[in-house]
């Protein structure tokens, strides 16, 4: 935008300078030429009248001398010709030859008309200025006085004027740029600060910190208002987000006291419950309390994952120990349900993620895979470097042989508390994939679900390679 503004300013200044400079130079040239023309015309008319007698008497005593003196002083060749074009007197022994235009002017003079002003002489026009005036004797044309003046000096002066004008135009452009630079900077400063501010606000919002204001009271009023509104918007967004996070954390926190009391009350009932049916109800109530505390743990984990955003806890983490640890932890359960837990891909890779991040992701994904894959199936965890990814990446994927999910559900599966419509009674908080997705996103990666051609569900954590 700065260069565009500069171009606009330059074009405007340039047009203005040219619009003023060219007419000025032109009128200057015209004036100088007019002066030269009138000067030479006066002289030529003088010589024409001076030639009356010599022409009628066919003798020219003194005229040739006078012409030669004049030529000596001014460098202008003057020739007097009679009606047939024969030279009567000349300032030089060899009168300069005339071009077509000059000859025409002589003819015009011999026809009895006076000289018209010549067209504008340009600096590159090397032809001399030819003026011819009729020699009138008793109202009859008897010959013509022809002056041939070099235009070198005039043209040199003209070149000087044009160069001066060009220099002034350049100077105006330079001045224009010098003035425009701070002005564009002043105009663009709020825009620039907004631009930087947007990035900072995104980071601040993610990190739950208050966004640093971008307005500094400089710049044009409209942009100042814009930056102020932007600050207000950033503030409310940050506030809304931190309120929401605080709510999740506080709610899961505050619910713990009533839940503790509830569990204590329930266990105080132990031994006072009579009958199998009542004991059954009591046990179920204990289980519900347990389930509720599982949901609270999940919420707290999610709030924690979000709170850690922007804290930049990512470290170089080896993938293998985490994957092996989690596979060992889940293997008894998988084998008990008749599933094979396999490991594929490459070993020895490192990724950027907060400590424990890989474990969190694998726990959530393996939990679902084991829950939903029917006995006899297999779950494959694959670690693979991603070729031609910028920055270099590692894909950590979990592929199961389960029923997969409906394509339209893939997008929503990482939402909080989302459950597949037909799975709403399966144990779990519905927070696992949301926590996994947030954990991966905080490490600068993405969590993607897709349905591979061979069936089942594939969950891939796309992580930044360390």
């Amino acid at each position: 935008m700065r260069s565009r503004l500069l171009v606009i300013v330059c074009v405007l200044v340039g047009l203005l300078a040219i619009g003023l400079g060219v007419p000025l130079a032109l009128s200057n040239s015209r004036g100088a030429q007019q002066e030269l023309f009138i000067d030479r015309l006066t002289d030529t008319i003088y010589f024409a009248s001076r030639a009356q007698r010599p022409i009628t008497e066919d003798t020219a005593p003194g005229l040739a001398d006078e012409l030669a003196r004049y030529d000596d002083v001014y460098g202008v060749a003057v020739t007097v010709v009679d009606r047939s074009g024969k030279v009567v007197a000349a300032s030089r022994p060899e009168p300069p030859s005339l071009d077509a235009d000059g000859l025409e002017r002589v003819q015009v003079a011999l026809a009895g008309r006076r000289s018209a002003a010549p067209p504008l002489i340009w600096p590159w026009d090397t032809r001399p200025l030819v003026l011819a005036e009729p020699v009138l004797v008793d109202g009859e044309v008897r010959g013509a006085a022809v002056s041939v003046s070099p235009t070198g000096a005039l043209r040199a002066a003209e070149v000087q004027v044009w160069s001066l004008v060009a220099a002034l135009v350049l100077l105006a452009l330079v001045l224009g740029v010098l003035v425009a630079l701070p002005v564009t900077r002043w105009i663009l400063r709020p825009v620039q600060r907004l631009d930087e501010g947007t990035g900072r606000v995104t980071r601040a919002v993610l990190a739950g910190r208050p966004a640093e204001p971008v307005s500094d009271g400089s710049g044009p009023p409209e942009l100042r208002r814009l930056t102020v509104s932007f600050d207000r918007m950033a503030e409310s967004v940050t506030q809304a987000l931190s309120t929401q996070r605080a709510f999740v954390a506080d709610a899961s926190h505050q619910l713990r006291n009533p839940l503790t009391a509830l569990r204590l009350r329930l266990s105080n009932l132990e031994g006072h419950v009579d009958g199998d049916d009542a004991a059954e109800q009591h046990g179920a109530a204990m289980e519900e309390a347990e389930r509720l505390s599982g949901v609270l743990d999940g919420l707290l984990a999610l709030a924690r994952a979000e709170r850690d955003a922007g804290v930049n806890r990512e470290a170089d983490t080896a993938v293998d120990p985490a994957v092996d640890d989690r596979l060992d932890a889940w293997r008894p359960l998988a084998e008990h349900t008749g599933l094979r837990l396999l490991r594929g891909g490459v070993r020895g890779l490192h990724v950027k993620i907060a400590p424990g991040g890989i474990e969190t992701v694998l726990d959530a994904v393996l939990d679902n895979a084991i829950k939903f894959t029917p006995a006899g199936g297999s779950i494959t965890v694959t670690v693979r470097p991603v070729r031609d990814a910028e920055p270099p990446a590692v894909d950590l994927s979990v592929l199961d042989t389960g029923p997969g999910m409906a394509p339209e559900e893939l997008e929503r599966a990482t939402d909080r508390f989302w459950r597949a419509p037909d799975q709403s009674n399966v144990d779990g908080s519905g927070l696992g994939l949301a926590i996994a997705a947030r954990t991966v996103e905080l490490a600068g990666g993405t969590l993607a679900l897709d349905l591979p051609p061979g069936g089942g569900l594939k969950v891939t954590a796309h992580l930044v390679r360390a």
Binding site: L259, L264, L300
Partner: protein, 222 residues
């Protein structure tokens, strides 16, 4: 045994006190952390809630530690690892995360008291025998059923040993998972169930490990 209960939530305190009384303990309850240091006389164990309205629980814990070497169990509503570490660094002997279970709390109260008490019980060499012929050697990590040794995996043995050393009281799932696996994860409870099921099969004594619904497991020693 006398417990000093520092807990600001009336309802939690009201529910907890009868539960502790049932386990033969007497209690004094404070709802403010600042007064805790002045009430330490005659107290065997302090149960200190970290989320107090008037003072940071960690500071209270330090103050108690400076004034006395009475065992302190920190009760926290946060499950954060960082919070636990801070709690333990401030001089607490143990921590419990809300919502906790009475059985677990009582077991921990006894445990910290034992550790602080003069007679330190030696696990090494201790053998727990059940009336139906199962002998669990906690020191040598072996189990025999009617004299024949049964091969258990390390985790299976740890679960059984934990239940055995609790001596018939309930061990909550949370506690077993935390002590055997070192951390909790979404499949932990189900993994524990799998281990218990395997234990029952391997030992051939389905009634030995009893399920306490909604709470955890205990060893059926009688």
């Amino acid at each position: 045994m006398h417990i000093l209960l520092v807990e600001d939530d009336d309802r939690v305190a009201a529910a907890l006190r009868p539960a502790l009384h049932r386990h033969g303990m007497t209690t004094t309850r404070l709802d403010r952390g600042r007064e805790a240091v002045e009430h330490l006389a005659g107290v065997d164990v302090v149960l200190l809630d970290l989320g107090l309205p008037d003072a940071d629980g960690v500071d209270v814990c330090r103050a108690i530690r400076e004034a006395s070497d009475v065992p302190v169990i920190v009760v926290t509503a946060r499950g954060d690892v960082e919070d636990r570490i801070v709690g333990l660094h401030s001089g607490a002997d143990d921590y419990v995360v809300k919502p906790y279970d009475v059985g677990e709390l009582v077991a921990r109260i006894h445990a910290v008291q034992r550790r602080r008490g003069p007679e330190v019980s030696e696990q090494v060499g201790r053998v727990v025998t059940t009336p139906d012929g199962v002998a669990i050697d906690l020191g040598r990590h072996t189990v025999t059923v009617d004299g024949a040794e049964v091969t258990l995996t390390r985790k299976e043995f740890q679960v059984l040993a934990l239940l055995a050393s609790a001596g018939g009281t309930v061990c909550t799932r949370t506690r077993i998972v935390a002590e055997v696996w070192g951390r909790s994860w979404p499949g932990a409870n189900r993994t524990l169930d799998v281990h218990v099921a395997t234990l029952r099969t391997k030992l051939g004594r389905p009634e030995l490990v009893q399920t306490v619904r909604g709470v955890g497991y205990r060893l059926g020693t009688t």
